[in-house]
């Protein structure tokens, strides 16, 4: 089935095609002449690309570089934005704490007042009774339990 090798090493031409293949496939008569005509017709309307290879490759590099720059810029922007948002979030939380009077609300006196009002509500008096002893202890930062243990 296989023909003897007709390839000539070092030559720049194709090795001669195998006669087996030529006889094997059905090809219409005069096809190769028609093929040449068809190709000639087609190339007459298609100019060869005479521009150098760099003409195509340069814009490709430029496009890739532009896309990479855009991606990096967007990434950097998002990163910066995220950092800013975090900083704002911290600042807001701190401001919230200060401005909303949360620290003030944790004042012992205020807590005591709340406690008293709750006791009053429970006992049904409906009025807020201020305990002068308690006030004194709070105002002077005296620990009631410490006094009790010392006594």
């Amino acid at each position: 089935m296989k023909k003897q090798s007709t390839y000539t090493p070092g030559g720049d031409d194709l090795p001669k095609r195998s006669a087996t293949t030529q006889d094997l496939f059905k090809v219409p008569d005069g096809y190769f002449e028609d093929l040449s005509h068809a190709i000639t017709e087609k190339i007459s309307t298609t100019p060869p690309q005479t521009s150098p290879a760099g003409w195509i490759t340069l814009p490709r590099f430029a496009i890739v570089a532009t896309i990479l720059t855009m991606i990096l810029s967007i990434g950097f922007y998002i990163h910066t934005l995220d950092q800013q948002t975090n900083a704002q979030r911290v600042a807001l939380t701190y401001d919230d704490l200060v401005n909303s009077g949360f620290v003030y609300q944790l004042d012992e006196y205020r807590l005591y007042e709340e406690y008293q009002s709750l006791v009053a509500e429970k006992s049904g008096t409906g009025s807020v009774e201020i305990n002068p002893y308690g006030d004194y202890l709070i105002e002077n930062h005296i620990d009631e339990y410490l006094i009790e243990s010392e006594l």
Partner: protein, 182 residues
Amino acid sequence: MEETTDSELLEQFRTGDNPNYAFNLLVKKYRQRVYYHIRRIVIDHDDADDVVQNTFIKVWKGLPKFRQDSQLYTWMYRIATNEALTFLKKKRTMLFLPLVNVEKQLEGKLESNLNVKPDHIEMKFQQALLKLPEKQRIVFNLRYYDEMPYEEMSRVLGTSVGALKASYHHAAKKIEKFIRGI
């Protein structure tokens, strides 16, 4: 009449007054070899005709940029192979066919495309070839029919010589098995 060498054709194409004439000589020189290479991949004549024409149009368009890093026929074979593979891929995509079905379709075309009787050993040989994976089939064809050296095949297919030798060996074994009916 002595056949013009590739270098002479290229020289004529680049510096001559009539590049179309030089290209026509190139087409005349290679039309049959390129056609049969493609035909062995796509099997059907009409399909091969389309692919051959596209191949030569691409050669025409790319010839001014051809830098002779490789030999002209290696470059043309590479274009022809890519065009044929792209054609089969398009066919698969257009018809939503898996690889196996395209092979079956090609096998179905063998009978009407070959000059041999269905029970001829050559028919069985071609059927066995179609059982091979596409690239292995091309490797086998280039080596068996075109008798192309592995180094040249390596340039055409962009695969190492070692891999090509292994591929050819596997292909030959598979064909043998198929023909023997193992």
